[in-house]
């Protein structure tokens, strides 16, 4: 019964982006950005919301994916899907390699290592100007048509459907993953890491796996951003992007895939309407929102919705 309802709610939810295409047809560039950001938030949700790995440097993987796709396209391999694969691969490799540093030690060490690694990569991207363009960004990203059929147009129609399709596909995979025994074991690790080895779980390997998967998701998101904007700016790797990401996830409600999506929509919409008025105010209210969420609404929008629903049912 309640399962039926939640299924219907899911179908309804995914009709929204289709509706949005017709209603907000002039804003497709923004809508693509929302889809890409949602994918990025989803990638953090997998590692933080489900597996409980704190990261202050998740933008590193986003940035790696963005540069990987950008450089490929710049030097002639402009096929979008190839770029996505490259972004995923580069980020997953980096995630796998750094997981051995990140996963040892306490939360505090994890915070520091993720921050340190991402700052290192940011500095590297900043200084390797021949390669990345440094602060000027990576120019000359030329994309070929998607599947050889749909070229990236001025109105972002291709960009929108492309981003949305990738988001939908990866969301669907993530949804399978978190409901599987593997996903259950991740929740187990998050809730009680002491107990899991006593059930026979190789905790470290599970975490390495999900950390690499999360990195790959972030890499795909980064690659998508590059391909849809045909440009890579240095701030794809910036600390503020990692911090913003955490905020969106917490705002939406971590440990919930739809929380990641809804958080992104709310955040991006607010950003779109408020940041234009005054960027400084925006950052101030962003900070204030973060403080308030932590103090008063720790389970985010999804938590509030859930409470509303239970209250309504009574």
């Amino acid at each position: 019964m309640s399962r039926d309802i939640s299924m219907r709610a899911e179908y309804a939810f995914w009709l929204l982006p289709v509706l949005a295409y017709f209603v907000f047809g002039e804003n497709l560039a923004l809508l693509s950005q929302i889809a890409i950001t949602a994918l990025f938030v989803l990638s953090l949700d997998l590692i933080l919301g489900y597996a409980g790995i704190i990261s202050l440097g998740h933008a590193a993987f986003f940035g790696l994916g963005a540069y990987a796709a950008g450089l490929l396209a710049k030097y002639g391999w402009g096929d979008p899907l190839l770029g996505l694969a490259a972004g995923a691969l580069v980020a997953a490799t980096a995630g796998f390699a750094s997981s051995f540093l990140v996963l040892r030690g306490s939360d505090l060490t994890r915070l520091m290592v993720t921050l340190g690694v991402s700052l290192m990569l940011f500095e590297a991207a900043n200084k390797l100007t021949d390669f990345t363009g440094g602060v000027d960004g990576l120019q000359g990203v030329e994309m070929q048509p998607l599947l050889g059929l749909f070229s990236f147009d001025l109105y972002s129609k291709t960009a929108y459907w492309y981003s949305l399709a990738v988001l939908f596909l990866l969301f669907w995979l993530a949804r399978r993953l978190v409901r599987s025994p593997f996903g259950l074991s991740l929740r187990g690790i998050k809730q009680n890491v002491t107990r899991m080895p006593a059930l026979g779980t190789p905790v470290h390997r599970r975490l390495v796996a999900i950390y690499s998967i999360g990195a790959a998701y972030a890499g795909v998101a980064g690659a998508l951003l590059t391909q849809t904007t045909q440009f890579v700016s240095l701030d794809v790797m910036a600390f503020s992007r990692s911090a913003e990401l955490l905020l969106i996830l917490v705002l939406g409600g971590s440990g919930n895939l739809y929380g990641a999506l809804i958080g992104t929509i709310v955040f991006m919409a607010a950003h779109h309407f408020l940041a234009d008025i005054n960027p400084q105010y925006w950052q101030f209210w962003l900070g204030a929102a973060l403080v308030l969420v932590v103090l008063f609404a720790r389970d985010g929008i999804m938590g509030m919705l859930r409470r509303l629903v239970t209250r309504g049912a009574q």
Binding site: R179, S180, G183, L184, R195, A198, G200
Partner: protein, 250 residues
């Protein structure tokens, strides 16, 4: 018979404190073995060393003749050595069924499956359901673990271990904090385990220990003091001194 679990000169110190000192212990297959001793005697530390939760400073652990001293905890579980915790280690936000299924999934080697949802792994679910039913926990199967009263949660602590189908079960004060009526039931359930399951038990309630155990080891100050059948231990002068001494302190 060769021991199923054996330690040789096992030692562990925390800073200046020697929690476990040169402990050499043999557990026979199918044993109902109790480990007793005053608080701070090092009993839990010994369990932690046996299960691989801690690494010893010196000495070795053998599991069915295999040296497992450096073997990771989860690999010992795969070899049938399973423990419970003195302080409940549960999954507060899961339902009772979910947490037991988590355990059966791991036992059945399904922990890496990521495509099919949990409920499609019928074998794991039915095994968990049977276990819950045998522990009279079926009626709370859909409740969140954190919402249950302490006695029930203590049972789940044991259920998680039983779901691993242990061949050697290390129970760290399973009845701690459980009302007397329920603890009797709990022990009857443990006693009903098949005879080929070896059990090593830490317990403070002497009634339960003497009713259940067929062999008793007494630990004091990190070292083994005595080991024998219950009748002998009950009349051992040194053991009496230890417990009387504790009574004087209290």
């Amino acid at each position: 018979m060769p021991p199923v679990l054996e330690t040789r000169k096992l030692s562990k110190r925390f800073g200046g404190f020697i929690a476990c000192n040169d402990v050499s212990l043999n557990i026979q297959p199918g044993a109902r073995h109790a480990l007793i001793g005053p608080n701070g005697a090092g009993k839990t530390t010994l369990i932690n060393l046996l299960s691989g939760f801690l690494e010893p400073g010196a000495g070795e652990v053998f599991l069915r003749g295999e040296n497992v001293t450096r073997l990771a905890q989860h690999r010992r579980v795969k070899r049938g050595l399973v423990r419970t915790f003195q302080i409940n280690q549960l999954f507060a936000e899961m339902t009772v069924l979910e947490s037991v299924v988590l355990s059966t999934c791991e036992r059945l080697g399904l922990g890496w499956r990521w495509w099919q949802p949990v409920e499609n792994h019928v074998h794991a679910v039915s095994e968990a359901t049977e276990l819950l039913s045998s522990l009279h926990l079926l009626d709370v199967a859909q409740e969140k673990v954190r919402s249950l009263p302490y006695g029930k949660r203590r049972l789940i602590e044991i259920a998680l271990a039983l779901a691993s189908k242990p061949q050697i079960l290390l129970l760290d004060e399973p009845a701690a904090g459980v009302p007397a009526s329920e603890s009797r039931e709990l022990f009857e359930r443990i006693a009903r385990l098949p005879r080929d399951v070896t059990i090593l038990l830490i317990e403070h309630d002497m009634d339960l220990v003497f009713r259940f155990a067929e062999r008793i080891t007494v630990m004091v100050g990190g070292a083994l003091l005595a080991e024998d059948v219950p009748e002998v231990i009950a009349n051992d002068r040194r053991v009496k001194e230890v417990y009387l001494g504790e009574a004087h302190d209290a």
